[in-house]
Symmetry: C2
């Protein structure tokens, strides 16, 4: 089992600086490694996970025992727990990433200039990615594999609760790297539970960390967004809206509302607020709310909603900016598309919003005037997911507008450079 | 004439916070303004610059008089000076930006999913851009117009030397905005020369500034890169390399070397170091260095270069990391492409590098293994420019890997969002 090092703050700072230097040194050979080598490393990782399953389960048993002693909640214990099935899922996830198209070297755009220069914009790795996550040990495998596929070195900082499990998984990743003759420092796991390690990552490890991706609860993301001196790909919350327009099909509206709210209530793409066009309140409101209530959802409405649907509780002002992540929805009547847009632009976290409507002009207005990462027409907000977008895998969803926005998949973990081919051109 | 406000630090902080709020408020109507309206505003700005030429020249005369009193250098005085010709160039520059394709709403990528969802990735404005520049008043027009074209609000912070000139130009930009019924706060000029204004911008104006672009000398860029709490598009320096491979055509090598170094020595794309493959030192080195010397260039070589070309001075270690921005070049013999790549990766600022070679494999190695924003084959490094790339206009060149890299034109000043069209899909 991994022996947790007891580090003073200075020790942790120098340990983290060392991790940064090693990651930067690994990033260059990794950036020019060909697709076959990265594919082989990923397959090797998946095989090692299966082969060393007992080792991983033993390490996980130690974490589970520690978790029990520390009286972790049942929810946390469930996230922490590994089973042969969950290890197989991790291995399958890595195999799926291995089969994705290699993004590095892909020509994103190309054009000719009148002077005969041919210009290509080509994908390159970003460099060194830092991932800070909480109890789920499977993130070790997912994030490590995704960063490698994009040609990036990665420094993984897992939760202290899952440190033994993560270390056992990490050993399998390193085995895959070594077998493919890629630098073992391409994927490093922070080997201490000292919280100062996170602080060092947020400071950027002397310029050796190019981007940080937090995966976890609101308090983690908030700390990273506030303190990081390097770019962050993240979303703080998903206050997602569903707008039912006067032109909506009622059946479709019911189906989408129930799915957007209730399919899984704890994910960032779950709808939190339902806006209904006042024009169809008489016909659409009650059937939609009845379907939601029947599915087990608590309704919190504005005055008009409560009047029309007496089972609803009265919403307060804070309900419009609350991410419930639970079987609760806030409901408001709005005066058509313009009022709906106004409500969304004022209260949204700019993650994902959906409209149910048949009128094309209304849909275009919704699409043009709302500035959220993902907008959907006649589809559930729960499609806000890299896998559902066809990106193969995602490391999270970003609501910032710089570089990555929406699902962060392998392409979003790349940068680009220009290659210009000439035949002796000089600039006049 | 603009009366410079004497602000205490607190006054400046509240002034800048106000500018930030106004910019954010203007950004939303601007983001949804259609292409025709932005085009009309830009044409209106160009016309106002010509119509109000005398006003601009009068304001400039005040700046020139102040500059004389402050004993500015002749170079600074030349940058500051406006003439009818320079005003015409500004107006023509804005007209050229007006005629660029509007990037907002452009579908960058689209695909279908097996469940029938159609996904589009669509360009959106970034939000609010801050531009911090030095003495050239024409940046007011260029940067204001480019940000507007991309649908962004902009806060311009010009040099205090050119504040009167910039204010007169800014008045013309606002006239164009108003005539097209766009919010006048879409382009704001910081009305104080208090240096604390820059500090406020670097702190991000309470989240109301999305990106900062510094345009000016090394010390300005360095300060912005070190202190900014928001993303920065910039390059600190352009230590650009030219490598002459054993497979190079000698005539082409001579032409490109002289152009890359001597066409304009003061721009960031000028070559600073020449690397020559040792295999062709006997045939290529002397003719290339003679051509450079004849063009007025000082040669600083390593021991082998000095031996072969006695007019060369001996380079010291710092020469390999010096951006001369002058008629000086450092020259080194290298052992083929691998050694050339090693030198570049160690010493480059990752801005622009060029190779002269006929061997395709060598070129591919150079293109794949060097991680600079722009790589050129058989062409001069001086093509590192948004205009030469066909981007129409640029606000600068970025060497960071996040979001924008290489020339920063109108497209690089945008973000994107996803539009997903369905027909009632719910997520299983």
């Amino acid at each position: 089992m991994l022996k947790l090092k007891e580090n003073s703050r200075d020790d942790t700072a120098s340990l983290m600086a060392d991790l940064g230097r090693k990651a930067r040194a690994a990033a260059r050979p990794l950036a020019i490694a060909n697709a076959e080598r990265k594919h082989a490393a990923l397959i090797g990782m998946a095989e090692a996970l299966i082969r060393r399953q007992d080792e991983i389960l033993d390490a996980n048993a130690v974490d589970m025992k520690n978790g029990q002693d520390a009286k972790l909640s049942p929810a946390l214990m469930d996230r922490l727990k590994l089973t042969p099935g969950r290890i197989r899922d991790m291995a399958d996830g890595i195999r799926a990433i291995a089969e994705l198209r290699d993004p590095v070297g892909e020509v994103i755009a190309e054009w000719d200039r009148p002077n005969g220069l041919h210009i290509e914009r080509v994908r390159t790795p970003l460099g060194v990615v830092g991932v800070i996550y909480e109890s789920r040990p499977n993130v070790t495998a997912d994030a490590g594999a995704l960063c490698l596929k994009a040609g990036n070195a990665v420094i993984l900082r897992g939760g202290s609760d899952s440190l033994n499990s993560s270390a056992a998984i990490h050993a399998c990743l390193v085995e895959g790297l070594k077998a493919a003759k890629l630098p073992k420092d391409a994927i490093q796991l922070v080997p201490t539970s000292d919280r100062a390690a996170v602080g060092e990552m947020l400071k950027g490890l002397d310029g050796n960390l190019d981007v940080i991706i937090p995966r976890g609860g609101r308090s983690l993301v908030e700390r990273v967004q506030t303190e990081a001196r390097v770019p962050v790909f993240a979303h703080l919350e998903g206050i997602c809206h569903l707008y039912i327009d006067r032109s909506a099909s009622l059946d479709m509206a019911i189906g989408i509302a129930v799915n957007a709210k209730m399919r899984r209530t704890g994910i960032c793409g779950a709808a939190e607020t339902l806006l209904v066009d006042r024009v169809v309140a008489g016909t659409h409101l009650t059937p939609i709310l009845e379907a939601l209530a029947k599915a087990g959802c608590e309704i919190r409405g504005d005055a008009d909603v409560v009047k029309a649907f007496p089972f609803a509780k009265r919403a307060t002002e804070t309900d419009w900016t609350t991410e419930y992540l639970d079987a609760i929805i806030s409901v408001k009547l709005v005066d058509g598309i313009a009022d709906a847009i106004e409500h969304v632009e004022t209260h949204s976290s700019h993650h994902t919003e959906a409209i149910v409507a048949e009128d094309a002009k209304t849909v275009e207005k919704f699409f043009n005037e709302i500035d959220s990462a993902i907008l959907l027409h006649n589809a559930s907000t729960q499609f806000a997911d890299g896998g559902e977008f066809g990106m193969g895998a995602e490391i999270g969803i970003a609501t910032g507008k710089m570089h990555a926005r929406g699902p962060v998949g392998v392409e979003q973990l790349t940068s680009f450079k220009y290659r210009v081919r000439g035949s002796g051109q000089i600039r006049p």
